[in-house]
């Protein structure tokens, strides 16, 4: 296995407030890493630094050996690291099919025909094949998020970042999105997932990371993480969540 994402001594500030401090993290090719933690712990901020939607002030982030920074390489790096957002962020003025096909046409320089054919395949894969001609506003939240996942997959990125992908969904729609993500994980895509879905973390993750107050508190494979957490703060968090 080779390292795909490497984060070294990462510091991130909002003014005087330190949102992330001394984060060190490596994600291997094909690995599924789930990041847990209370809200405000910096988990979303962390993955938003990986594709530089948030600037960072100290340390390094490398994707496939290239430093993530503003400059001519940034767009290339971003095209290799997809992101799925909490709020879906589909393009409301484009059909579902065009949502998926747009970036491959513009960034990967695919012909419109090829891009749409591929988009159709991906939509079928996420169970949205019958909705290709619809607009995002005509879809439920779960359907929108599945389209957003297909849109991200269309770029064939080397890794996909998930920023609380099910947090904005009605409970009955969470399952359909998690199923798609689980299939994606099985197919060998490198994934970094910020979520509150403990079941998903337990079933799918290769490694679970627990963050609090901008620091990584504990990380481990799922079984020992959930059954025998080492740090008192992890124990408290899991207690609160699992007994909820």
């Amino acid at each position: 296995m080779s390292t795909l994402i490497e984060i070294k001594k990462l510091d991130k500030f909002y003014g005087n407030f330190q949102a992330l401090s001394d984060i060190n993290l490596q994600v291997e090719q094909g690995e599924v890493v789930v990041i847990l933690g209370p809200s405000g712990s910096g988990k979303s901020t962390l993955i938003r630094c990986i594709n530089l939607l948030e600037d960072y002030q100290g340390g390094d982030i490398l994707v496939a050996g290239e430093r993530v920074e503003h400059g001519p390489n940034l767009a290339d790096i971003r095209s290799e690291v997809g992101m799925v957002f909490q709020g879906f962020n589909l393009y409301p003025h484009l059909s579902v099919l065009d949502n998926v096909a747009l970036a491959p046409i513009r960034v990967r320089k695919l012909s419109k025909r090829d891009a749409q054919a591929r988009a159709k395949e991906l939509l079928i894969k996420v169970g949205m094949g019958d909705h290709a001609h619809k607009y995002p506003s005509q879809l439920s939240g779960g359907q929108q998020q599945r389209v957003a996942i297909a849109r991200t997959m269309a770029m064939e990125p080397r890794a996909i970042l998930f920023d609380e992908p099910t947090s904005a969904l009605d409970p009955e729609m969470v399952g359909e999105v998690l199923d798609v993500m689980q299939n994606l994980a099985r197919s060998g895509v490198t994934m970094v997932v910020v979520t509150h879905e403990m079941g998903f973390a337990r079933r799918v993750a290769d490694r679970v990371i627990f963050m609090e107050s901008g620091k990584i508190v504990e990380q481990n494979t799922p079984e020992p993480f959930f059954t025998a957490p080492q740090e008192p703060r992890t124990q408290a968090f899991l207690q609160a969540i699992l007994h909820h």
Partner: protein, 225 residues
């Protein structure tokens, strides 16, 4: 009867009509040219105002503020009567086009800006996260949505430009109003002026109604989301 003879004199109207139709053509040409230049310039200006380097952003803002403050007629007179003193001699059409589009691009820049700023941040982020360039993001994602939002105010602005073309008659531009006043002087009868007013209404009333229609449709809530 007397009133009809004075304001709606058929013979005078028929005689002055060819002249006025030519004037109407000039008015439309002037208006459309200025509207197109104003929209194109406004879009560039809005993007500079939002996304360029700080000094250029500041310059764009100063330009916009000045052009929105200066009376159009004053600018027009400056361009036509003052510039020749520094060797810049513009035809009346060029002067009028310049004045109209210089001002209208400042207004359309502000309208474009409000539309772009109304687009949620997530749209920029989604596009950026896919590695789309600034140009592609604007063309394919942001502007199509922003333009839909600003359609009503932008159409109003275009109507204003079309109306303001009448000011060009001050710099001897043979537009509809100028031709009408000349025909009126020639015939010693105000019918051409009434005719001109009616022609202006025929030109602009449909546009005004278009704006109301678009606004009603937006209020009813299409698939904007």
């Amino acid at each position: 009867m007397d009133l009809l003879q004075t304001f709606f004199n058929w013979n005078v109207l028929v005689e002055s009509l060819p002249l006025m139709m030519r004037g109407l053509g000039v008015t439309i040409l002037l208006g459309v040219t200025s509207i197109i230049l104003g929209l194109a310039g406004g879009l560039v200006l809005a993007l500079l105002r939002l996304y360029s380097y700080a000094p250029i952003r500041a310059l764009a803002r100063i330009y916009i503020d000045i052009m929105r403050s200066i009376p159009l007629l004053v600018l027009l007179v400056l361009i036509y009567y003052a510039l020749p003193f520094v060797g810049i001699r513009l035809s009346s059409f060029a002067a009028a086009t310049a004045a109209l589009s210089l001002v209208s691009c400042a207004y359309s820049a502000e309208i474009f800006r409000s539309g772009i700023e109304a687009i949620p941040r997530g749209q920029f982020e989604a596009s950026a996260s896919q590695g789309m360039s600034f140009f592609n993001t604007m063309r394919d994602v942001i502007l199509p949505q922003a333009i839909r939002i600003v359609m009503p105010p932008m159409t109003s602005n275009c109507i204003n430009v079309m109306k303001d073309t009448a000011l060009a008659s001050v710099v001897a531009m043979p537009d509809l109003l100028k031709q009408a006043t000349q025909a009126q002087a020639l015939a010693a009868n105000p019918t051409p002026l009434v005719g001109a007013a009616i022609l202006y209404l025929l030109l602009l009333l449909p546009l005004v109604q278009l704006v109301s229609w678009v606004e009603r449709r937006n209020a009813a809530g299409g698939k904007t989301a």
